[in-house]
């Protein structure tokens, strides 16, 4: 803010119907706002976000020549874009807007303390106005986007995403570490609930990929390095030890998942007839399943548990997979008994519940056990087992004979994903899977622009869910490529070249490799790569780094305004 120009802040306090108005005395807050430094105008609105409220706001900006705007209403996480848009329409740069959250952080949490809530609302407005006075206009840099995408992983998700992108008219590179496409589907026998051979489905996709001239296939290849940013990624591939360079505008991660091997659990690894559900698939696919007398399947092995080595999430596919394989065995060998030991059968949604009913009709037995008291497997002799389980529905101990034990283990993140997470600067969640930018608002995006995720690399899911998510990722990746130009984050860091000594602390800290040294040994920020976290500014030994829109001065002004006055 230039010194000669005094800020003229407009404050709009929203009643939000009764949401704020019934707790906070809004007229009192409006009157208080008028007394604050730099506030030139204040008014109350029934709903500031209504078209009437917004047009009143736009009028006031023009009429009073407002230089900054504060709306005291709800959370900026939902409504900031709307109010920023209104400011822009009134000719005000959208970064000259600031929000005071007096609903989620005040009226809704203090409905029984109306006086204190009103006082708090006043202070929140005072804090917002103090920051608003220091706000400056910002510009979002524009960059060109190459109309080509990299899809990492040639499984069902990767192929679906690639086909969709190619149909949208973009060129696509698929990188697959194996020498064949298909991923995990190549190991599966039949697919539920259609009972179609997995190979038939895979073959259709492989043909669609191979016959599409827009798709370039790189099998036996891995991603060695990725540099650059949305629109301009420079990718180095390693194909059988030979390096290949490609340039792409967007990246889709479809690296899939692996199956947890439950070593040490239920005698797995000790006897050949204790296998995982995926191993059973392979045996059946090869037509090598010898007739078993009694099959016992155990669900949630290493899943939905807090214990060490286990995973606390539900792997989503195992219930339906077990039901399918139980039915398959009953069909193949009608004399074979199949018992499923479960904690909760979650054959959710369309079709799967019917599938479960069918299994019951086909005399597949289901026995429920408690997580605290899991079944016990005892090897009687090679290939002969006894399984003891506490059936919590009849409250009794059940002993079962078995000659085949099938363990349903969860899908887990791959080792390569950890490498890619570091290389692409995209996070993994606590469960090891790739973490989207927002679970509801941006479910296939990463915080890093231009990179998207789909399939089981993101979380365990069925084939149809993987395909749907792949189409979602392809559609999201298509947006910047169709627009050809994108705007990037304005909230970035600025380095004061006179203060920087080139110590390199910020370079080590930056999670996006956005900071490099220039030819004079001074740190410079790539605005397109910077995501604006501010870790560099908070750590710079020379205090040479300032964050746009969140400078020390602005943050401190907002914080200390809460301490001034009453």
């Amino acid at each position: 803010m230039s010194k000669e120009k005094q800020p003229k802040i407009g404050v709009f306090v929203c009643h939000c119907g009764v949401n704020i108005g019934a707790v906070v005395n809004v007229p009192e807050v409006v009157e208080y706002a008028k007394t604050l430094p730099n506030v030139a105008y204040a008014e109350g609105n029934l709903y500031t976000c209504s078209s009437e409220g917004l047009s009143k706001m736009k009028e006031a900006i023009k009429k009073y020549g407002l230089t900054q705007v504060v709306v005291a209403s709800c959370t900026p996480r939902t409504h900031e874009p709307l109010f920023r848009g209104a400011c822009e329409e009134a000719g005000l740069n959208k970064y000259l807007f600031h929000m005071a959250n007096i609903r989620e952080h005040c009226s809704w949490v203090h409905p029984k303390e109306q006086e204190k809530a009103t006082q708090k609302a006043k202070e929140i407005v005072r804090m917002a106005a103090a920051k608003a006075a220091l706000l400056e206009p910002q510009t979002e840099p524009e960059i060109d986007v190459l109309p080509s995408a990299l899809v990492i992983g040639g499984g069902i998700s990767g192929m679906s995403a690639a086909i969709s992108l190619a149909h949208q008219g973009f060129s696509v590179h698929i990188v697959e570490k194996k020498d064949v496409l298909g991923g995990k589907l190549n190991e599966l026998h039949k697919l539920y609930p259609v009972n179609k051979q997995s190979s038939e489905v895979v073959e259709e996709f492989i043909q669609a990929v191979k016959s599409n001239p827009k798709i370039t296939l790189h099998t036996s290849s891995t991603v060695k390095n990725v540099d650059g940013f949305i629109g301009n990624f420079k990718v180095t591939l390693d194909q059988n030890g030979k390096e290949k360079a490609i340039d792409v505008g967007t990246v889709i991660l479809a690296t899939g998942a692996e199956v947890l091997e439950p070593n040490g659990k239920y005698c797995y690894g000790e006897d050949p007839n204790v296998i995982t559900q995926f191993e059973l698939e392979r045996v059946m696919k090869e037509g090598k399943l010898k007739k078993p007398k009694n099959v016992v399947m155990i669900q949630c092995v290493g899943a939905r548990e807090d214990k060490e080595g286990g995973r606390n999430y539900c792997s989503r596919i195992c219930c339906a997979m077990a039901v399918k394989n139980a039915l398959e065995i009953r069909e193949l060998y009608p004399d074979s008994e199949v018992t499923v030991l479960y904690r909760d059968m979650q054959t959710y949604g369309k079709d799967f519940e019917e599938y479960y009913q069918k299994a019951r009709e086909q005399f597949v037995q289901f026995i429920r056990f408690d997580a605290e008291n899991p079944p016990e497997v005892i090897i009687k002799s090679k290939g002969e087992y006894s399984v003891r389980v506490e059936d919590i529905l009849i409250n009794d101990t059940v002993d079962l004979d078995a000659d085949l034990i099938v363990l349903s283990t969860p899908l887990v993140q791959t080792e390569e994903a950890k490498e890619l997470s570091k290389m692409l600067k995209v996070p993994l969640g606590a469960d090891g899977f790739f973490l989207e930018a927002h679970v509801k608002l941006r479910p296939v995006d990463f915080a890093t622009e231009g990179i998207f995720v789909c399939g089981t690399a993101h979380s365990p899911k069925t084939i149809s869910e993987s395909i749907a998510q792949a189409y979602a990722a392809a559609s999201r990746a298509g947006i910047p490529m169709a627009l050809k130009r994108v705007r990037t984050e304005a909230i970035t860091s600025i380095i004061d070249e006179d203060l920087c000594t080139g110590c390199g602390t910020c370079i080590k800290l930056c999670p996006y490799s956005a900071i490099r040294k220039n030819e004079r040994g001074i740190a410079t920020v790539n605005d397109v790569l910077c995501k604006g976290c501010g870790v560099c500014a908070a750590s710079c030994p020379e205090k040479a780094i300032t964050m746009r829109h969140f400078s020390d001065k602005q943050v401190l002004a907002e914080a200390t305004a809460a301490l001034g006055g009453a």
Binding site: T75, P76, R77, N101, R103, E104, H105, C106, W108, V109, H110, P111, K112, E113, K116, A117, Q119, K120, E123, I124, M127, K425, P427, L428, G429, A430, L435, A437, H438, V439, A447, I491, C503, T505, K508, L509, P511, K531, G532, C533, G534, V535, A537, A538, S539, C540, P541, E542, K543, M547, F550, D552, V555, L556, E558, A559, T560, A562, L563, G564
Partner: protein, 261 residues
């Protein structure tokens, strides 16, 4: 609580945009109730909170400061929260030297889905601050000694040495230095203790000798250090051009602070 029934703590909360602020929003949407004392400042990442910021806020009379970020491994910016953890650890060491209770500063994790956890942490922290009572530097008659100490702490947190050490802590203890030597965490911690204390004392001596030239003996009294320890700091400060001999009074040299460039 009864004897302090008139006391309403002033608490500043720095919340990251992605997890904790969203968690606070969820507490609102779920209509959870918590004390009215917290004033929230939204930042993009908890890692944005420079150690100077809480110190400045304490100097202005805040009774408590709470920094909330994403849970480890859930950080929107990969590891900003883990870097913040290191900063807060260092800050607590500094606060312990100032006489302001380090418990007035808290770092915790709240995810976007943990509205209840947010309400619980804020309630707990508010109660804690109520127990501790008003900040000694709050109001019209602040404790001058502690205020001066906070200023020294702020200056120490602004200084290159401490910032480099904290900024590089994870690199040095987790990844190793340029010679691929990792420093064990305990060893780093005791090194940090030493540097925090030395930096704090040097800044304090600098502030004390800023208003009037003082002898080693007078400084020893003011800082509570042994005269030998004061002298050791003065030697280092002279090397760093922070202090000079103003004049010799009898046989006693009096030291005066130099403006730091």
């Amino acid at each position: 609580m009864t004897e302090r029934s008139g006391f309403e703590p002033k608490i500043i909360g720095f919340l990251c945009n992605w997890c904790s602020y969203a968690g606070a929003d969820l507490a609102g949407v779920s209509r959870m109730q918590y004390p009215t004392n917290i004033r929230v400042v939204r930042v993009m990442c908890s890692g944005r909170i420079d150690p100077i910021i809480p110190l400045e806020v304490f100097m202005k009379g805040a009774d408590g400061v709470i920094v909330l970020g994403c849970h480890p491994a859930d950080c929107h910016y990969v590891e900003g929260n883990l870097y913040e953890e290191k900063k807060i650890e260092m800050l607590k060491k500094l606060l312990a030297l100032t006489g302001l209770q380090p418990e007035r500063l808290r770092l915790d994790w709240v995810s976007a889905s943990e509205g209840q956890r947010f309400a619980r942490i804020v309630t707990e922290f508010t109660e804690k601050i109520r127990e501790l009572g008003p900040s000694p530097v709050r109001g019209k008659n602040p404790n001058k000694e502690i205020l001066k100490n906070l200023e020294a702490a702020r200056n120490a947190a602004s200084d290159f040495r401490l910032r480099v050490l904290v900024g590089r802590e994870r690199e040095l203890t987790e990844k190793g230095n340029v010679y691929h030597e990792k420093i064990p965490l305990e060893q780093f911690d005791s090194l940090l203790d030493e540097v925090v204390e030395a930096e704090f004392m040097q800044q304090k001596i600098h502030l004390l000798t800023h208003t009037e030239p003082l002898s080693v003996k007078a400084l020893a009294e003011a800082t509570g250090l042994e005269p030998a320890a004061v002298l050791k700091q003065i030697v280092n400060m002279r090397r760093r051009n922070m202090i000079t001999v103003d004049r010799i009074k009898g046989t006693t040299p009096l030291y005066r602070a130099l403006e730091v460039a």
